[in-house]
């Protein structure tokens, strides 16, 4: 086997002896900022959530749990995101129509107990208020019309389908 240079990095090594090292200053200084659009720890805004449940369906490692307990007038909904199960793929944030889930650029997710890794939020989802039925006086003109428009109203209907 032909060996071109048996000691390849000698000049570089001796030159680097007198240069400044390229090491980052952490942990002696502050941790550096992550790249833009970094997918880090989840922040959940319960005031924006509407409890549609799309994020639960989309999450591949099933890192979320939802508990609902009935209170007066609605349900108390609690979402818990488990950081030790999350893959940080951002599908939940992409699918959320109200932008209630946000992946920040906080990458220091280090802890000793399981509780350090849970992000949860609670909100109360009120039941929708039932509207009163329309009274008989407002409904009077309506029965006169369908007799005249009965046939022309019937023909567009099959085309719409």
């Amino acid at each position: 086997m032909e060996v071109k240079n048996p000691v390849p990095f000698l000049k570089d090594a001796l030159k680097q002896l007198f240069e400044k090292p390229v090491t980052e200053s952490f942990p002696a200084g502050d941790p550096p900022k992550a790249a833009p659009e970094y997918r880090g720890r989840i922040v959940y805004h319960p005031d924006l959530c509407i409890n549609c449940g799309t994020c639960l369906r989309v999450c591949a490692p099933q890192a979320m749990t939802r508990t609902m307990e009935p209170v007066e007038g609605g349900d108390r909904v609690t979402f818990t995101f488990d950081m030790t199960s999350c893959t940080f793929c951002r599908l939940c944030s992409d699918f959320c129509s109200r932008k209630a889930i946000e992946l920040t650029d906080d990458y220091m997710i280090v802890g000793t107990k399981h509780e350090d890794f849970l992000v949860s939020g609670t909100f109360i989802k009120m039941k929708p208020v039932k509207k009163p039925a329309p009274d008989a006086a407002a409904a009077k003109p309506a029965p006169a019309k369908p007799a005249a428009e009965g046939t022309p109203a019937a023909s567009p209907a099959p085309e719409k389908k």
Binding site: V7, P8, F9, L10, A13, L14, Q16, L17, E19, P21, V22, T23
Partner: protein, 325 residues
């Protein structure tokens, strides 16, 4: 009264200088400087200078686990024997032309076989470990020992003959004190043209004996699960690491005695500092730079390298010296 003074003097030599404490501090200093320089050459910050001391202190506090099938006596006594023989060697090396703790007529032969004992201690410790990784490591260590012993013997014989031609009527000397005296009178050995191949050969022998990077086939970390030290933990491991650092100091000191000795400034402390500076320079040349730059050799490549190139250099010197040059 006289007997008490003599005993105190010997205790001082064995325990403080140049025995236990001084060798320990010099070895830790050399090892720390070596690690820091390797890191700087690789463009990173590197551990603090006292890092080997922290390593050893931490190992003192770890639990000692002995495998069930291991031979307990050999397992625990091998590292201690290796370390003890190195500390005895430090008593034999002269530190300047005027100071040597123990001097005898056949120093060089005693140093030669004292330097084999740490290698045998590693082999015995690995053999008593009852582990296949240690078995692979010990066969590699035997190959390494066979590789470097022959050129080392020839280099020592060459230096002794060169010194003995001038200083002794019989033409041969085996005493390190005579070698230092020769260098004091005729100039350092490395300035003689016929000794330069021998000095180069010695510079190649030092990393293999110490177990430094391109030639550390015995303690190959990633290849064979730490090799000979696979089953060691706690205090015996601390002794092996300490033996590794002390071997670095002893061998570079031997190089300085054989090739760079001879001058003395009269004050022992200044001599010591000069000797330490020379040790650091020799360590940089033959242990640190190859560590930062080279990859590990294969087992047969080490053997071939030592028995062709290094042996050739040593034999060239031997031939030149025997012809009287």
């Amino acid at each position: 009264m006289n007997i008490v003074l003599i005993i105190l003097k010997w205790l001082f030599h064995i325990l403080v200088f140049p025995g236990f404490l001084f060798t320990l501090c010099a070895a830790l200093l050399l090892a720390g400087i070596d690690r820091k320089l390797v890191a700087r050459m690789q463009n990173r910050v590197g551990p603090p200078l006292l890092q080997p001391a922290y390593d050893l202190l931490k190992l003192f506090g770890k639990e000692i686990i002995i495998p069930r099938q291991a031979n307990k006596k050999a397992f625990l006594s091998a590292p201690a024997v290796g370390l003890a023989s190195l500390l005895v060697t430090s008593l034999l090396l002269p530190f300047s032309a005027s100071f040597v703790a123990v001097s005898g007529v056949a120093d060089v032969i005693v140093v030669l076989y004292l330097l084999t004992i740490p290698a045998v201690a590693i082999i015995v410790g690995a053999a008593s470990s009852a582990s296949p990784f240690a078995g692979v490591g010990l066969s590699r260590e035997m190959v390494a020992v066979m590789a470097y012993e022959l050129p080392l013997t020839i280099v020592l014989v060459t230096v002794c003959r060169k010194a003995g031609l001038m200083m002794d009527e019989s033409g041969m000397t085996f005493s390190l004190a005579t070698v230092m005296q020769y260098q004091a009178e005729h100039g350092a050995m490395i300035t003689k043209l016929s000794m330069i191949p021998a000095a180069l050969a010695m510079l190649f022998i030092i990393p293999c004996e110490v177990g430094a990077h391109p030639f550390d086939i015995a303690e190959a970390e990633t290849e064979i699960c730490e090799g000979t030290l696979a089953e060691y933990s706690g205090l015996p491991l601390a002794f092996y690491e300490l033996a590794h650092y002390v071997k670095m100091f002893i061998l570079t000191s031997l190089f300085c005695v054989l090739f760079l000795g001879g001058f003395t400034t009269g004050v022992v402390v200044v001599d010591l500092i000069l000797r330490l500076i020379f040790c650091v320079v020799v360590t940089f040349l033959c242990i640190t730079v190859p560590h930062a730059v080279c990859a590990r050799f294969k087992v047969e490549q080490v053997f071939k390298f030592y028995w062709t190139w290094v042996l050739g250099l040593a034999l060239v010197s031997l031939l030149l010296v025997w012809l009287g040059l």
